[in-house]
Symmetry: C2
Subunit: 246 residues, 2 copies
Amino acid sequence: MTDLGFNAKDCGTCPIQHRAVCARCETDELATLEAMKYYRSFEAGQPIVWSGDRMDFVGSVVTGVASLSQAMEDGRTQMVGLLLPSDFLGRPGRAAAPYDVVAVTNTTLCCFRRKPFETMMGATPHLAQRLLEMTLDELDAAREWMLVLGRKTAREKIASLLAIIARREASLAPERGQDDMSFDLPLTREAMADYLGLTLETVSRQVSALKRDGVIVLDGKRRIVIPDFDALVAETGDDVDGGVFA
Amino acid sequence: MTDLGFNAKDCGTCPIQHRAVCARCETDELATLEAMKYYRSFEAGQPIVWSGDRMDFVGSVVTGVASLSQAMEDGRTQMVGLLLPSDFLGRPGRAAAPYDVVAVTNTTLCCFRRKPFETMMGATPHLAQRLLEMTLDELDAAREWMLVLGRKTAREKIASLLAIIARREASLAPERGQDDMSFDLPLTREAMADYLGLTLETVSRQVSALKRDGVIVLDGKRRIVIPDFDALVAETGDDVDGGVFA
DNA sequence: CGTGCACTTTGACGTGGATCAAGCTGGCGC
DNA sequence: GCGCCAGCTTGATCCACGTCAAAGTGCACG
């Protein structure tokens, strides 16, 4: 919630708006975006917006992890997206948030107020095209996840989730090879269950099973080491190169 | 595959490109789009494109139903979208099709070659914005479906599918009230199963159960009559107004 | 250095939907 | 009119995952 007071120029730590949204912007457009942006941070567990709420900003994740989820009246919930650093949040042209957005870990967003952003979009054709690109990527990810939810076994679901997170982590720190990957799981067992359409007990059992079978190594409850990424991918049911977010 | 030879002006039957894609186009842009468009038709069961294929057109469905689906190596398949009349197919800026697209019933598409369409998009800012809108709608539909796949029971899944189709049918023929809805199911039990992440036997049993309970009436195997739409919606597990594609 | 509490693991048991296996039904070609 | 066959239904059985219950773990706080 608090404004971090980052210098607007201090974007070594914020690859977001320049490269992700506006890679082809001219200098003056870049400067306009720069001048408009501001930061917000949220603590782990804090809601960012509720489904149906008015949402007057768009932005992207600088650090941390946020989740998008939908709930049924009786309490069943399904996570429909996971926002990792560089992912975009919000939708130009739409006032109401379609999902609950919650900070899973401590999270910093780089934001723009929606109205001026929309105005800018109208004046900058490739901004709209860039947003379209990003939305198509989200759509592909959502549909890939439909396959996971509809057709995969519990073990394959867990492996798919770990593979996605491992890939994302690797792309954020590309200097390391893809052997000996390791990362801190940002999700509780319950959050994993909500993403995978399982119960937390089933998640726990399958994580234990993957550990027992040597596919993953646990260091504490959250730190995951993946000794052989290909072995993990083999557990997902996907063909080797076609996988999720390929 | 065959060109139907429809008159390019004959767009009473083709509400697609004018209103869906280009509602705000100026007259000359409209004329340009008109001149570029052509029709293709496919018979029930025919593939339109395979996943990974080069796809040199974009378009939308004029009549019929097509499906988007993904397959795993071992044959498990998940339908990730259903294209009904007025739905858009294809993605500007991307050469490769990400899913298998199959004509479920006899289908007619209104197409544009991709390259000139992209050029036009670059020159016509609101075309890109309109495409973004449509893609966001698809994204919402995909995520709504993730809730169906991840958290609903077989009976709720069937009810959700019937409710979606009934709503779409009603919006195509809005003169009829929403009591006494009826329509021909365009999908086989197997296709329904692929969409819902079930087996065809389970689909058959749950359809029978909904019939036994008076939620739906079957006239033959394909014609569905819905005596009370609200009763159907009550079976979906959604809250009354929040439902899929709300 | 306990005590509390959120998170996780593990066990025992139940069940919804998958699987396997017959039939049935209705449209179409001959 | 008859046979064929794709699509559908129904039954019997199985098993992956859910449910309920009880410990275990480790970090934060006194």
